[in-house]
């Protein structure tokens, strides 16, 4: 466990020594800021529903970009061999990298706290949904990070890792829109699988165990699949 922390700290620092972190954060803030404030004054309501409504789709693009390098880069330059012959297990490596990705997502969300503060200054903001929204955003980010980590463990090409991660995250976000075409039995299952639905539940300020279990199980499945992908590699 201590090794996972050491690896996580290294990965987190590595994000900020390369320009990619700043680019990703800048793009994320630009996109969310633009979509949020372009309609905010027209709607004339003091809430962040618009911001959180878009978050799953934006995360589906941004989080795989954050995670794509975690394994693919190591495979590519060969440092994976150096890392794995140090006294660490697959579990340490997977958990370490996952925690770094989660911490990065949290760091990315941090500047957006300016939005609720600004909105609260303009009108009576209900803080319940805001807190729920940020909790949901962290959970959603963690779930997508686990998926992206798995995609990264499949290939030595970062672009391929990004596209695989994007496809899965995008599918998870929008799968409930497909429910409409299918018979009732499948429809409810599909709706349960949709990350968007669970996220919007939490973002309303209602923290239900069903939603928590959904996000935690996506994390678990993603990390376990990563573990399997790594151990079948050699």
């Amino acid at each position: 466990m201590r090794h996972a922390l050491t690896i996580g700290r290294r990965e987190f620092n590595a994000y900020f020594t390369a320009p990619i972190a700043y680019i990703v954060i800048a793009i994320f803030l630009l996109v969310t800021g633009w979509f949020f404030f372009s309609t905010f004054f027209l709607l004339n309501q003091a809430n962040l529903r618009n911001f959180f409504g878009l978050l799953p789709i934006i995360f589906a693009f941004v989080v795989p970009a954050v995670t794509m390098r975690l394994f693919a880069e190591e495979f590519h330059i060969g440092s994976y061999e150096t890392l794995l012959t140090l006294p660490v297990g697959f579990g340490d490596v997977v958990l370490g990298k996952f925690s770094a990705a989660c911490a990065f997502v949290a760091a990315m969300l941090l500047p957006t706290l300016a939005y609720p503060v600004a909105v609260a200054a303009l009108g009576a903001l209900d803080w319940g949904p805001v807190i729920g929204g940020y909790l949901g955003a962290v959970l959603l980010g963690a779930a997508f990070a686990a998926v992206g980590l798995f995609a990264s463990a499949l290939t030595r090409n970062q672009i391929v890792a990004f596209i695989i991660g994007l496809a899965i995250c995008f599918g998870l976000t929008l799968v409930d829109q497909m429910a409409f075409f299918l018979p009732q039995v499948f429809a409810s299952t599909l709706t349960y699988l949709a990350a968007d639905v669970h996220f919007q539940n939490v973002a309303r300020g209602v923290v239900d165990t069903r939603d928590l279990i959904y996000f935690l199980s996506v994390c678990f499945i993603g990390l376990y699949a990563t573990h399997l992908a790594l151990s079948s590699r050699n």
Binding site: A14, I77, G78, T82, T85, P87
Partner: protein
């Protein structure tokens, strides 16, 4: 210290390592020699637990690699080929990271890093990113990485490849210094290197061990034959051939291209008797002038070439 038994590795259908067995004693330096693609790197990767063997057993110290991979990783320091390290990190940060994973005491880390910086000669690059270092320095950082936890066993994959001659000498010197107290296994395709550094060499060819013995024994058993180079002026080729071919111990005589009117020839000899005194006596009786006269024993290089010849 290291016990390897019937180690085999298949990549799909291709057999990279074919039932290799060897032992390495504590404090011994073993060189794995072989042409490219012989299976050296695969063997070392299995030894360090990075690759899973298809079959066979590896035991290091008291542990078998299948049951206790983590314990084995703790006592092995490994430098992979061409030292793939994190490009963006500063050398000192990277060594700190390794020290953390090697569970060194937080207080002792800086001292250990300083000590290794001294030993590997990387003190002046400590605050540079690894990606900006020259190959020689990167290799030395890799060496420091491998030695961080003061491991019992050091495994180095082509530690001198791509270095300039001065750096090669330095790295060899470091290996020899470490080899006094530790067990070292390293691979190379440079023969003089194995000859200069190792106590023992194992020659690997096409995934099999072609020869395994101490460097001196290997030369004795396979290198009993020798060659004598002679250069003479004032002589004619036919006369030289008549005079010298019959000397006991000489099994063959071949003339090289003459240069500046001198006759140059190479005599092959077997190990049974030394023909040199007799050769000299015979040359003295003639009117020829002797310019060059020296013997070469068959080098590891020739033995190697013989063992790994494509049949």
């Amino acid at each position: 210290m290291i016990h390897v038994e019937n180690l085999t590795k298949y990549y799909d259908e291709i057999c990279a390592v074919d039932r290799i067995s060897f032992d390495v004693r504590k404090g011994e330096i073993l060189g794995l020699l072989g042409p490219n693609g012989a299976g050296k790197t695969t063997t070392l990767r299995m030894l360090t637990g990075f690759l899973k063997p298809s079959a066979g057993r590896i035991q290091i110290g008291d542990y078998s690699i299948e049951d206790r991979p983590l314990e084995i990783k703790k006592i092995i320091g490994y430098l992979p080929e061409s030292a793939p390290l994190y490009q963006d990190m500063l050398v000192v940060d990277y060594l700190q990271f390794v020290a953390g994973l090697r569970e060194l005491d937080a207080g002792a880390r800086l001292d250990r890093i300083r000590e290794l910086g001294e030993l590997c000669g990387i003190r002046e690059v400590m605050h540079q990113p690894i990606g900006e270092l020259s190959k020689g320095y990167r290799q030395r950082v890799g060496l420091a990485h491998a030695m961080m936890g003061d491991p019992e066993v050091l495994v180095l994959d082509e530690p001198t490849s791509g270095l300039d001659p001065n750096q090669i000498v330095e790295i060899r010197e470091i290996i020899r210094r470490i080899g006094k107290a530790k067990t070292v296994v390293f691979s190379t395709h440079i023969l003089s290197e194995a000859e200069a550094t190792c106590d023992r060499v194992a020659i690997i060819h096409r995934g099999k061990i072609a020869a395994d013995s101490s460097t001196t024994r290997l030369k004795e058993t396979l290198g009993g034959r020798s060659q004598i180079h002679v250069t003479l002026t004032g002589a004619d080729a036919d006369g030289v051939q008549r005079e010298l071919a019959g000397v006991p111990g000489v099994t063959g005589l071949s003339l090289l291209d003459p240069s500046n009117g001198a006759v140059r020839l190479v005599l092959t000899c077997d190990a049974t008797c030394d023909p040199r005194p007799e050769l000299y006596q015979r040359i003295r009786r003639t009117s020829w002038t002797l310019l060059e006269f020296h013997q070469e024993t068959l080098k590891l290089e020739d033995i190697f070439r013989e063992l790994t010849k494509e049949s």
